[in-house]
């Protein structure tokens, strides 16, 4: 598999929810190769500050266009939010291993926590194209009015109950469990570590396979700097989030 580094034209970079931005770029080489769960490394400044590229899951693909959802957490993402439509940005990708869709799968549960929703719209689209019944759950601190069609038909969970279920996203799945339990079921989760641990525990108890997309600081994004270790569950070794993940079978790694 080849990795491209292309200067890609930005065709949209707008705020779609409180602190969530949607970036769309023309990236034909990456769009051709990428599959759900993979990520790209974006250079947010041409002037060396900040120095390192920033990793973002691919949230959207349509023909030669790829899109990313991101929140502003520091200088890098703040600079990214100021990129104007028509400007070009350097995107490296696709990187990492994405989600696996097993042949027997009939029902998929997608769980996003906060900006962990990012890789799920792309995954959902692929699942739905294969005729797999897909239920998407999104948890956030407070009401998440999203003005984006990518987010149609979502079960909300908010900590303060201002929208949807009051509680965390894993609890919201538990709340509906009797109606969604199914023999050929698989869950996919992305979000902060406590949420992923809750998901691990929940689906292990239900004996439902779970894939998780893990976040880490990275320098290179493709396995050479070894800066993003995650503990392996079956040995005393580390795996690398960028190269061995970012998507893991939840039983492979220790969070």
């Amino acid at each position: 598999m080849s990795v491209c580094i292309d200067n890609c034209e930005v065709i949209e970079n707008s705020q779609v929810a409180e602190n969530i931005y949607f970036l769309k770029t023309v990236a034909p080489n990456i769009a051709r190769e990428v599959y759900p769960g993979q990520f790209c490394n974006i250079l947010v400044s041409d002037y060396g500050t900040p120095l390192l590229r920033r990793p973002f899951s691919v949230a959207f693909r349509e023909k030669n266009i790829i899109g990313f959802l991101y929140d502003i957490v520091g200088m890098g993402t703040e600079l990214l939010s100021k990129v104007d439509v028509g400007e070009k940005i350097s995107i490296e990708g696709p990187l990492g291993n994405g989600f696996n869709i097993d042949g027997s799968l009939e029902v998929a549960l997608l769980l996003g926590g906060g900006i962990g929703i990012a890789p799920l719209p792309f995954l959902r689209e692929k699942l739905q194209k294969r005729g797999i019944n897909t239920l998407t759950f999104w948890g956030s601190k407070t009401s998440g009015k999203l003005n984006l069609s990518l987010f149609d038909n979502i079960y909300f969970a908010t900590d303060d109950g201002s929208e949807g279920f009051q509680g965390n996203v894993v609890e919201s799945v538990g709340n509906l469990w009797s109606s969604i339990s199914h023999a050929n079921l698989k869950a996919y989760a992305c979000g902060p570590t406590p949420m992923l641990i809750a998901a691990q525990n929940f689906f292990q108890e239900k004996n439902v396979p779970l894939e998780i997309s893990v976040e880490s600081r990275m320098a290179c994004g493709f396995g050479i700097c070894q800066g993003c270790p995650i503990k392996s569950a079956d040995s005393d070794e580390y795996k690398l989030v960028c190269k061995d993940g970012p998507v893991f079978n939840s039983k492979e790694v220790v969070l």
């Binding site: 080849s2 580094i5 493709f222």
Partner: protein, 305 residues
């Protein structure tokens, strides 16, 4: 356009151009080969190998700083046996000069590694890491002790005829004394510099950003330091210097060569732009042409002070 000679010699090691990829920033070549044409670079220097595998430090291992980054990977590597079995076959095929970097925790381990690898055709030279700041049992301890560095060099010199390059620590008072010492013991060249010891704290948790507490600072932030160390060695010691530290452009590479480096290594910049080496090589070629320099060796230590 007249042809510019970019080829250089480091001891008996001939390189098609002076641009190498630094140890720890190219793994064992496989991943980066999918992005950059490794046949174009002067050499690649593999990730430090130790006798036994090292799993490396727990996370967090890296932290970005102003114009640089801290890392404390802890010399994570697959160990000598798997390196030979699994990585050498790939390195044999890529048609570029391979320099093997070795890191160890004892004199015996250094010697054992070089003995086991010296007859592998693909390995054209050894770079001896005496200066990794991130492992407790070795590295910096050696790198700061001129007698230890001298002893490692004299121990390894009789084991192999292949060029021996000693990678020096900047975390010492006088790097030129170290260069002089390894020259006296028969080293062919020195690489200057390894990373600078640094740290960073989270002011809310009051914990270090890196689990190892300190890490090695690399990137553009250290370039002026590296350049001064290269100059210091070049002025006083008659040994080829391979300049490394923050090189991110062909202009940076030219600056190191002018300051006394016979060749350069690109490190952290590979993380940001894995194709940077190609751009540096082409930039040096164009620069030489524009400056009427027919042989890049004429640029080495061509400074006017």
């Amino acid at each position: 356009m007249s042809d510019v000679n970019l080829s250089v010699k480091i001891g008996s090691l001939e390189l098609k151009n002076p641009v190498m990829l630094a140890s720890g920033t190219v793994g064992y070549g496989e991943e980066i080969s999918r992005i950059v044409d490794l046949t174009q670079v002067g050499a690649i220097i593999t990730k430090s190998i130790s006798l036994e595998p090292r799993k490396g430090n727990p996370p967090e291992r890296i932290w970005e700083t102003s114009s640089g980054m801290l890392n404390a990977i802890g010399l994570a590597n697959i160990g000598l046996k798997r390196f030979v079995d699994e990585k050498i076959p790939f390195l044999e095929k890529i048609n570029t000069t391979v320099i093997c970097n070795i890191a160890a925790s004892s004199f015996d381990e250094y010697a054992e590694c070089v003995k086991s690898l010296k007859d592998i055709e693909t390995i054209k030279a050894f770079e001896i890491n005496v200066s990794c700041p991130n492992v407790k049992d070795g590295g910096l301890l050696f790198g700061n002790d001129i007698n230890a560095v001298r002893e490692i060099t004299s121990l390894l010199r009789p084991i192999t005829d292949k060029p021996l390059i000693i990678k020096l620590s900047p975390n010492t008072a006088s790097i030129k004394d170290f260069a002089q010492a390894v020259k006296e013991e028969g080293a062919d060249a020195v690489s200057a510099i390894n990373t600078l010891v640094g740290t960073a704290f989270n002011i809310y948790t009051r914990k270090p950003r890196i689990k190892n507490i300190t890490g090695g600072l690399s990137g553009p932030a250290i370039k002026p330091v590296a350049l001064a160390k290269v100059l210091e060695i070049s002025r006083d010691v008659d040994i080829p210097v391979i300049g490394v530290g923050g090189i991110s452009s062909w202009e940076d590479a030219a600056e190191f060569i002018i300051a006394g480096a016979s060749a350069v290594q690109i490190g952290t910049a590979n993380f940001v732009n894995p194709k940077i080496s190609e751009e540096v090589i082409e930039g040096l070629r164009s620069y030489c042409t524009a400056m009427n320099i027919s042989d890049i060796n004429d640029l080495v230590a061509s400074y006017t002070l």
